[in-house]
Amino acid sequence: MLSIKNLHARVEAAEILKGLTLDLPAGEVHAIMGPNGAGKSTLSYVLTGRQGYEVTDGTATLDGEDLLSLEANERAARGVFLSFQYPLEIPGVPAMTFLRTAMNAQRKARDEPEISATDFLKRAREVAGQLKMDFDMLKRPLNVGFSGGEKKRMEIFQMAMLSPRLLILDETDSGLDIDALKIVADGVNALRSPDRAMLVITHYQRLLDYIRPDKVHVLAAGRIAATGGPELAHELERDGYDKYARAA
């Protein structure tokens, strides 16, 4: 599904990604682990098209289509979703309004009809129930005054509503207590399916006890330094990233 080849990218003058290659087939969940500054967040922003991240070499394709030439919103319409490490607060825009605008913009880009207000509400109630969210939270301005855990839950809520194909979770466990982590992980696991792929970016192994990856990649100094099964995450938890940081 997602194929990244020899990706080089820089932010201002600094080269952050230095030849990253990764294949993520449909139906699989891959974890990206790495020390701070390895380029984990940069990878998520390059894949989703944030301004200021310049790709200098390499390719990234989604089902064969070049992702890098598309605008951020076009990538979203093709099913790329990033769950932010620090979800933004949008004062003045109720969560429901924001999400319905996003959903309809995506549908429009795909030449699909808009979702009706009734269908949208029905679906929102279902999904909010699954995530044990207070439905009234969705009427409040998006993420404004929400706790860290509520913001992450709101990310998963949006993800479930938008039903993307490629899910990128950037440090989704940060700021979550164990109960919130379980709820969020359940929400993510419910989205696992043969036609979806997930990239789970995390610094710690803890999240991977709840979202079991098929593969674990170690990202160090801008490229994939090692790839293994879930056991690699435990090894990293035990031994740290020193070995890979040195090798890089």
Binding site: E71, A77, V93
Partner: protein, 346 residues
């Protein structure tokens, strides 16, 4: 120095200029080289104003002449009404001024839906409102200034409040060639409450000036102010907010916020927030920010599938929405919301 004086005396030298501290960003003398002729009387029917048929009554002022019964603006003890007050400038290259009194008896309530409507270019208009609220009276004033891009307009309102009275005001404008909307409040403290909000959405080469001055003279008064602006193109927004807490006006609670977004390199905002505190035991705060649209929020919206232009418009509208949400009158709030949506300058 006022426009009103200049029009009365037909003498340009009375116009406020940049040498007047309170007018330095809204210079009239440098702008106006010649006073236009006095406006003619216009008797034709007027189509509905921006507030449509909200409220029970309408007072129309066309080219500075009051049509109808100005006593609509005097509300008796215990009475409540909603009145549209429309200032229409109907004739190009003319000038006019008008003065009106608004009086609320004890316990009276008035919702004033005030509009400035520029129907022709190159007018010079001055409006003065003198407002008196007796004990326990409540006034909500919503001003929608829709001047012509080539009009020059000054509106100055002075308000005096009795104890326990409440003034809530929201001034919305998209500017004019030059425009000043000023409110001065004598605040007695003593549980009187003032809310002084405003929003300016200024594009092209328009100019909008929101100036306010609140003087707390007694103890236990509250003033809460939130003004927001969005300026695009070569537009210019001016905010001057002064809250004075006089000696002895203890336990005053005064909050002022002014926040503006600049959407182009040539847009300009001049802000002068002032808290002048001469009492000891007060709770006062002010915040003033001028900046660009939050790029992080913009990317967040785009990542969810919203195209950039739509995301920009959504974020600027939401920014202004915080002011509009505070309007109490339901109908006026919806009119204001539609007004902001139509003027998406993002």
């Amino acid at each position: 120095m006022t426009l009103s004086l200049a029009l009365e005396a037909r003498d340009l030298s009375y116009l406020p200029s940049r040498r007047d501290e309170d007018w330095r960003w809204t210079d009239l003398r440098g702008l106006i080289r010649e006073l236009p002729a006095p406006s003619p009387e216009v008797t034709t029917d007027m189509s509905p104003g921006p507030f449509g048929d909200e409220g029970q009554a309408e007072l129309l002022v066309v080219n500075g002449r009051v049509r109808g019964d100005a006593s609509l603006l005097s509300v008796g003890e215990g009475e409540a009404r909603v009145v549209r007050l429309r200032f229409v400038s109907a004739t190009a290259e003319t000038s006019h001024r008008v003065k009106l009194d608004v009086n609320l008896a004890p316990g009276a309530q008035l919702t004033l839906l005030e509009s400035y409507e520029g129907q022709a270019p190159d007018y010079l208009a001055d409006a003065a409102l003198s407002v008196r609220l007796e004990a326990g009276a409540r006034l909500e004033r919503i001003v929608l200034a829709g001047d012509h891009a080539e009009g020059v307009s000054v509106s100055i309102t002075t308000v005096s409040l009795a104890p326990d009275a409440e003034l809530s005001q929201t001034v919305l404008t998209d500017g004019a060639r030059r425009q000043r909307l000023e409110t001065r409040v004598e605040h007695p403290g003593q549980a009187a409450v003032v809310r002084m909000d405003g929003a300016y959405l200024v594009a092209d080469r328009r100019h909008a000036d929101l100036t306010t001055a609140v003087n707390h003279a007694g103890t236990d008064g509250t003033t809460d102010q939130l003004v927001k602006g969005v300026v695009a193109d070569q537009g210019r927004g001016v905010f001057q907010g002064r809250i004075t807490v006089s000696p002895g006006a203890d336990r005053t609670d005064a909050r002022m916020g002014h926040h503006a977004l600049l959407l182009s390199d040539r847009a300009e905002v001049n802000a002068k927030p002032e808290l002048l505190i001469f009492a000891d035991d007060v709770a006062c705060a002010h915040g003033n920010t001028v900046g660009a649209l939050d790029e992080d929020a913009l990317f967040y919206a785009q990542q969810r599938g919203i195209p950039e232009a739509e995301a920009r418009a959504m974020l600027t509208e939401a920014f202004i929405g915080e002011v509009i949400d505070r309007i109490v009158h339901d109908g006026a709030r919806e009119v204001a919301r539609a007004w902001a949506a139509e003027r998406r300058v993002g």
